[in-house]
Amino acid sequence: MQPPDQKLPETHYLNATYGIRSWLLTTDHKRIALLYLASVTFFFFVGGIFATLIRIHLLTPEGYLVTPETYNKLFTMHGVAMIFFFLIPSIPAVLGNFLIPLMIGAKDVAFPKLNLLSWYLYITGGCFALYAFSTGGLDTGWTFYTPLSSVYSNSAVAPAIIGIFINGFSSILTGMNFVVTIHTMRAPGMTWFRLPLFVWAQYATSIIFILGTPVIAITLLLAALERVLHLGFFNPALGGDPILFQHLFWFYSHPAVYIMILPAMGVVSEIIPTFARKPIFGYAFIAGSSIAIAVIGFVVWAHHMFLTGESTYSALAFSLLSYLVAIPSAIKVFNWTSTLYKGSISFDTPMLYAFGFIGLFLVGGLTGLFLACLGLDIHIHDTYFVVAHFHYIMVGGAVMGYVGGLHFWWPKITGKLYPEFLARAAAIILFIGFNLTFFPQFVLGYLGMPRRYHNYPPEFQVLNVMSTAGASILALGYLLPMIYLTWAMRYGKVAGPNPWPATGLEWKTASPPPTENFDVTPQVDWEPYDYKNRPDLGLVPPALAPAHGDD
């Protein structure tokens, strides 16, 4: 699609300086993004190994592989590694870090040194978590429910909590950095309603980072204090309230789900107009729905607690609010679909991921309605239905968005193109493997299989074997991109500045970009996702536009 003989720029951010110090002490947001890329990939690998062992263990009703203690540690450490050290930082800290300054026409984020500090805090927190994993493990569930975590567990709870506590400051600093950057560093002409929707999504995410993370940090710290110093916060034997912990925990951890999914929605909102080559349908509605999700997301937490004995009135209020938060998500799906209407649609890999995202997010979102439904939640709460639901959102949604985004911006990040055929195949393998793994779990859940069981009644075996079989396909779907994306860094075809072509500012600079991002500060005088008035993209307006154009 691009002219065949593209050349890499002579100097760019990757080769501007050399040596390990130039990476570990860098304040370049693009290099910090790559530091994050390497470290979150590591934790994805760690969490993935735990997941593999879990699925192998569940091949037989009596449990195939490990002892109950070990199984409990596996699912706990899988959750902690994946949620706190992969999913939450993945899109914001990797793609957000790399792209926000480029997308708004800035040289860097507002506080480059804080940005580097964020990464070191993440690494320090991660080391504590790894220490906990390797010295006794962790068997509380990633939810750390008290008094199990604060009194009864015999595993390395305190180091794990300290790790998550430290890691929280990394999130807070990243969120602050993004908010200030987006407010103060937009290029001339880059008004709020010309911002790419990815930036809107990151802005909404940053708000949650700043407002939510302190709550989880202090809550887990209280649990650790109860455990170590026997202060009675949550243990009823010491006058505490175990349900209070759940309120505080979910006050952060429900919005945390939106930390994972909002940036992925932002990625999809970039990919779809690019590969349909037309403006996104309902820009203001998609941008506004990101903010609405971030705000309403803070007042739905007790829908995790319908069966703790909370008051009926509280349950009714939280159920209604949970239905309210579903509406902005629905708005996004309808607008993405409508964007395809009268587009010029191609089947490039990022587009396949975007459609994979819509399909899986649709299932995940709709099954969220089942769990928000009070009468139905009585039965499906704490079953595999919940496990399937949140994997559809967090893996189907967030990880599809992340991997899709990596493909979309890989030419920008590395200056190279990945092998297209292999990439399309991997996207399809991922989609199929994912559904085979997690769809059977909806059925298992409705049939009554509780989550976090190291063994199960024999009638559940067939569905569990299906799920494990799917997981092996899914694993292949994740390994392939890891391999060919790494391969492409060195051996891929040179991409050129704008291979797709896309309309964002980040595509107006070289690939890979220079350390300063832009040679001259860009001036923005076009609307977002506008292909019609962009002769610089080298595309032609539709010949038949007047005939069936209706805007």
Partner: protein, 326 residues
């Protein structure tokens, strides 16, 4: 009410048909939207696939009517789901007045169950078909959850408080129950069986070996004397503390002007944290029994206080333990 569907567990309680109908409704709505959106995407994909390399799409920026439609229609459907779900849930959270009360106590990693006449079971629960059964749930350590898939009911079992759940078994048989809330190493082995019996069978089973067990009312009466409760809670109401005759199931007026229903949770709280709710006209002089009573002893005391009604509580089977609350 509804034929057994594949992928639905068997229905054995009054709630099962309601929950399954709700499930069917939500599946239908979800399938409709999934199919509509998938078909639209595939159609657009085929119809508007790129024909020439340099072609661009028709610039369409949005449509306010469409945006309104897809905000309003899903909102209405969401409201319908919420309302139907709320009806089922409110019914589940409010037990009818005349129930068969059974104590369920969870501990790592077993269930201890006590029938109204004191008969004890471990990881087994016997109930009569057609009778409203209320489970009073207590935990001795961490949070557990009593979950009976065939009944479509579950409730967390939280240390330091009572939760209650109720159901009416509709079919005799044996149904598995699980611990639904992760509770440590042997969480997955905290499983048991509910046996639903015809009422005469249940009555026979209940009286079968009740000699071996202590009647909880008698045990409670003994404790009531041992702990010197009777020195203040004088039955004619002249003591330093209110009389407990007929208190269970009624409404108690408190010193701050509010009222509270005297259920198991209230009595339990009055034992462990007596100053939390002071009865109007009395002083906060009672000592706390926190840490001095086991869950079993609390259950016995409550059983005794419940027995202080106008009609005495017989120690057998179906038809017993009317609370007197109408």
């Amino acid at each position: 009410m509804q034929a057994q569907l594949p992928f639905y567990p068997e229905q054995a309680s009054n709630f099962a048909p309601n929950v399954d109908s709700l499930m069917t409704f939500l599946i239908l709505v979800s399938v409709f939207f999934s199919v509509a959106i998938t078909v639209a995407i595939i159609y657009f994909f085929w119809k508007y696939r790129r024909q020439q390399q340099h072609e661009i799409g028709v610039p369409i920026h949005g449509d306010l009517r469409l945006e309104t439609a897809w905000i309003v229609i899903p909102s209405i459907l969401a409201l319908a789901m919420f309302s139907w779900g709320a009806v089922v849930y409110v019914d589940y959270r409010h037990a009818p007045s005349d129930t068969l009360d059974i104590y369920v106590s969870g501990k790592q990693w077993m269930w201890k169950i006590q029938q109204p006449n004191g008969r004890r079971e471990i990881n087994e629960l016997h109930v009569p078909v057609g009778r409203d059964v209320k489970l009073i749930l207590a935990s001795e350590d961490v949070i557990h959850d009593f979950f009976v898939p065939a009944f479509r009911v579950k409730m967390d079992v939280v240390p330091g408080r009572y939760n209650t759940m109720w159901f009416r078994p509709t079919r005799a048989g044996r149904y598995v129950f699980f611990c639904g809330q992760y509770c440590g190493t042997s969480h997955a082995n905290m499983i048991g069986w509910v046996t639903v019996m015809e009422p005469p069978d249940y009555a026979a089973w209940l009286s079968g070996s009740s000699n071996a067990d202590i009647n909880p009312v008698a045990a409670g009466e003994k404790l009531f004397a041992e702990k010197a409760c009777s020195s203040c809670h004088v039955s004619n109401g002249t003591g330093r503390a209110p009389s407990l005759n007929g208190v269970y199931g009624g409404t108690v007026k408190l010193a701050d002007g509010s009222t509270v229903t005297a259920d198991e949770t209230y009595i339990r709280e009055s034992l462990l944290a007596p100053n939390a709710k002071i009865v109007a006209g009395f002083q906060p002089v009672m000592q706390s029994f926190q840490g001095q009573l086991s869950e079993d002893q609390i259950q016995s005391l409550i059983a005794y206080i419940k027995s202080l009604q106008s009609q005495p509580v017989p120690a057998t089977g179906a038809g017993v333990v009317t609370t007197g609350k109408k």
